[in-house]
Symmetry: C2
Subunit: 243 residues, 2 copies
C-alpha cells in the first residue's frame, strides 16, 4: 500500500489517497487518530472520481461516529483496465431498461458476477493492508453497493461484523443463493421507485438473506434520492454492531 497524497479536511479528518497493487483507494481517519477505530468499507458502483462527493460525505458521517472509512476503485472503473464483456453487458442492460424491456438473468450475470468475482478479493487484500496501519482496528463494517458485492463480502469475510447493503442494482441468481448463508446483522436500504433497480428482485433478496437480525428501510424516490435521514439510520445501525 502506497500513499500517493494526503490532505487534512476542515474538521480533523485526514484524507489519504493510496494505491494497492495498482488499485486506487481512499482512506479517511481522525486526526489525531484514536486507538484502533472500527473501520467502515464504503461500497459504491464504480468511478471514484464521479462518486467522490457522496463518498466523502459518507466518510465524514463515519468519522463523526468514531470510525475510520476507506474505499477502493472497482475493477473496470475509473482509470483501471476496462472489462469489455462487463461494459457490453452494462450497455445491454441500459438499453433494455430504456426500452422498458425485461432485463434477462444472463445479462445481469454477465454484468455483475465478474465484478463480484474480481472485486471481493481486492477488497479483502485492501482490508489486510488497512488493518495493518496504526490506529485502525476491528470490528469492520460494510456500507454501500453493489449489493451483490456486499452480500459476498458479508458471507466470506469474517472480519465484517455488520453490513449496510444498498439495494440499487440488479441481483445475479447466484447472489440470492449466497444470501441464505449470510449471518451478520444487516440493514438494507431500498429506493422504492428506483429506476435502475427491480423492486421485487430486491425484496426477494431481502427475504433470502439468512441473518437473524435484518432490517429493510424502503423510501419513496428514485435511485439517488435516498433521504438524508437514512445517514442517521446507518450511523445508529453501525453503532449497535461496531462496538
Amino acid at each position: 500500500m502506497h500513499f500517493t497524497s494526503e490532505r487534512p479536511l476542515d474538521d480533523d479528518v485526514l484524507e489519504r489517497a493510496f494505491t494497492l497493487d495498482g488499485i486506487p483507494g481512499l482512506l479517511w481517519t481522525a486526526e489525531p487518530s484514536s486507538a484502533a477505530a472500527p473501520l467502515v468499507l464504503l461500497g459504491h458502483p464504480g468511478g471514484l472520481d464521479r462518486m467522490y462527493p457522496r463518498l466523502q460525505a459518507r466518510a465524514r458521517d463515519c468519522l463523526a461516529a468514531g470510525y475510520a472509512a476507506a474505499t477502493i476503485e472497482l475493477p473496470g472503473a475509473g482509470g483501471r483496465a476496462p472489462l469489455p464483456d462487463v461494459d457490453r453487458a452494462r450497455a445491454e442492460l441500459q438499453r433494455a431498461l430504456a426500452a422498458g424491456d425485461r432485463v434477462g438473468d444472463d445479462v445481469v450475470d454477465r454484468l455483475v458476477v465478474p465484478l463480484v468475482e474480481r472485486s471481493v478479493p481486492e477488497w479483502r487484500s485492501a482490508l489486510d493492508a488497512l488493518l495493518a496501519l496504526p490506529g485502525l482496528g476491528g470490528p469492520v463494517g460494510w456500507s454501500g453497493g453493489v449489493i451483490a458485492i456486499g452480500v459476498r463480502m458479508a458471507l466470506v469475510e469474517p472480519r465484517i461484523a455488520a453490513a449496510v447493503l444498498y439495494a440499487g442494482s440488479f441481483v445475479p441468481r447466484a447472489t440470492v443463493a449466497e444470501a441464505r448463508l449470510v449471518t451478520v446483522p444487516l440493514l438494507v436500504l431500498l429506493q422504492w421507485d428506483d429506476e435502475w433497480n427491480d423492486r421485487q428482485m430486491a425484496l426477494d433478496l431481502f427475504d433470502a438473506l439468512g441473518s437473524e437480525q435484518k432490517t429493510l428501510h424502503a423510501n419513496t424516490g428514485g435511485h439517488t434520492g435516498v433521504p438524508a435521514f437514512e445517514g442517521d439510520s446507518v450511523k445508529r445501525f453501525l453503532g449497535r454492531h461496531l462496538r
Copy 2:
C-alpha cells in the same frame, strides 16, 4: 370527557383514565405540563387492559420526546358492547390461519371494515375533547395499528400531521383504494415473519399509499417481535414532523 382516575408515574408523567360517551381511554401528559405539547394518538388492536404495558411504554417514549399521548378502547373490545359479526369474522380468520388456508377478502372485510367505520368517528371525537384540554395542542401524530384505522385517520383527519402505521393486520380491499389518497408523511413498520399478517398485502398497501414521504421499516421476527430500536425510529420520525 370524564376523568375517572389519575396517578403520577415515576418520571413526571401523569396518567389519567377517562371515559368519553361511555368509551374508556387513557391520557398521558407531562407533569407539570409544558405549553401545548403535540399529541400522539396510540392505535392498538383492541383490549386496553391486555395492551396496557405496551401502550404505557409507547406513551413514555412519546412523553420523553416532549409529546402527550392518548388512546381509547376499540369498539367491541375490553368491556365495550360485543360486536358479534366482527367476533365471528375474527374466529373465521383465525381458523383459516391455523389451518394454513388462504384468508378470503370477505372475511377480512367483515372483520376490519366495521372496526374502521365505528372507531374512526370515536377517535375524532376523542381528539376534539383532548385538544380542548389545557396543555395539549397540535400538531397531532398517529402511531399504531390497526393499519386500516390508521390509513382512514390519516386520510380524513386533517389535524394528523404524520402517522406511524403498524402493518400487523389484514387489509380490506377498500383500504388499499383509500391509501392512494393519503398525503401525510408516513412510517410503516412491518414484521417480516408476522404470523398474523400477509406480507404481500402489507407491501401492496405500502406501495399504494399516496404520500410523497413514506418509509417502510421491515424487520425479521414475528408479530410481537418489533425490535426495541424501532422505538427510536418512531421518535425520530415524529420528531421530524411534529414540530
